[in-house]
């Protein structure tokens, strides 16, 4: 049966990634409302994120030079790198010592759903785009399921993990939106 055009798929993927990042931003704000001041000082640095080893462009010039298939495999690598840690966030959200615990828990649930759906879309997309898009860098998460025993370390580790996801989801969103506009050359009003 007929196929959904790549430009449509990229539009839908960008919509999901946009939502994914917006969710991670509102979650960060929810958490910040009750974050121990000491946390800001002792929270691990972004370079400690489990995905920081992945080389990604970090300005416009570099990003626009990356090929379609490389952009898509960056996106897939980042998204896949978050499959396990999102489960850790989800299970630890249930017992997070935070007044907005249930709101946070629901949003993490939503984050997982959008992330799974986006993952499904990227499988279909990479099948249709250049074969290079199939390559996925492995970025294992060694953090384990336990995010700490006491209240402060739980909040700090949860916040740290989320801050890593927030940055990576922004990268995913940005790369997909570049791909979307490249695919939309015939529909100039789209970009």
């Amino acid at each position: 049966c007929g196929a959904i055009p790549i430009s449509d798929l990229l539009d839908r993927a960008s919509q999901r990634s946009d939502k994914l990042h917006s969710l991670s931003t509102t979650l960060t704000q929810d958490l910040d409302s009750h974050f121990p001041p000491i946390g800001r000082v002792i929270m691990p640095r972004p370079s400690m994120c489990h995905t920081s080893s992945l080389q990604t462009p970090n300005d416009k010039e570099q990003a626009l030079q990356v090929s379609e298939s490389d952009l898509l495999s960056l996106v897939r690598s980042l998204l896949q790198a978050w499959e396990d840690p999102l489960v850790v966030l989800s299970t630890s959200a249930n017992t997070l010592p935070h007044p907005a615990q249930s709101i946070i828990s629901n949003k993490i649930q939503e984050l997982q759903e959008h992330s799974k759906s986006l993952g499904d879309g990227l499988v279909v997309l990479s099948g249709k785009m250049a074969p290079g898009a199939q390559t996925i860098s492995s970025l294992p998460y060694f953090g384990g399921n336990d995010i700490g025993q006491d209240r402060i370390s739980k909040l700090i580790n949860f916040n740290f993990l989320l801050s890593c996801f927030r940055r990576d989801s922004h990268k995913i969103d940005s790369f997909l939106k570049i791909l979307r506009c490249r695919a939309a050359k015939m529909l100039p009003e789209m970009c």
Binding site: G2, I4, R12, D18, K19, G121, L125
Partner: protein, 210 residues
Amino acid sequence: VLFPPAKPGLTSCRSPEKETFTCWWKPGSDGGLPTTHALYYRKESSETVYECPDYHTAGENSCFFNKNDTSIWVNYNITVVATNALGRAFSDPVEIDVVYIVKPNPPEKVTVTVMEDKGWPFLRVSWEPPHKADTRSGWITLIYELRVKLEEEIDWEMHLAGQQKMFNIFSLRSGGKYLVEVRCKPDHGFWSEWSSTSYIKVPDYFHREK
């Protein structure tokens, strides 16, 4: 005289929010014999044929696809088969893309107030998108349409409101009792049902001739 069943017809498939969808069919004549219907579908670039996951949730002659069965990433090729003791009949296959069969829920919080412009009353109608539609993110565009009529009249007056969430109705009848309803549609999709009716009475105002 007994026959094999006539060909059923897939009448429509609709999704309220791109997360689930439902298809309906219209049976053909049953040839005088007990006839059963089954819906089968295949996903784009896959030869696997699946049967309808849920014939009940959406009522008779329907198939409901829940969140896990629904994908916005592939086209669905759908066929309905009627079977009785003497044979089978296949509907024409229908191809659907969930994103393009959205029929949203109606607009909500429809509010109508009487306002005045240099002595002339007018109706100010405002509403909200259906709560499931995330229009704030800028990705989903809904357009709206209103219909207005005097209680005693039969024909509605239609107004296209574009993407606005408010609309002014001028040239009112002094003392008239008006009914107002609103509906919405995504740019690639189907009109929702009309919202529930809002009633408003326009006060008697003195016809000032200009």
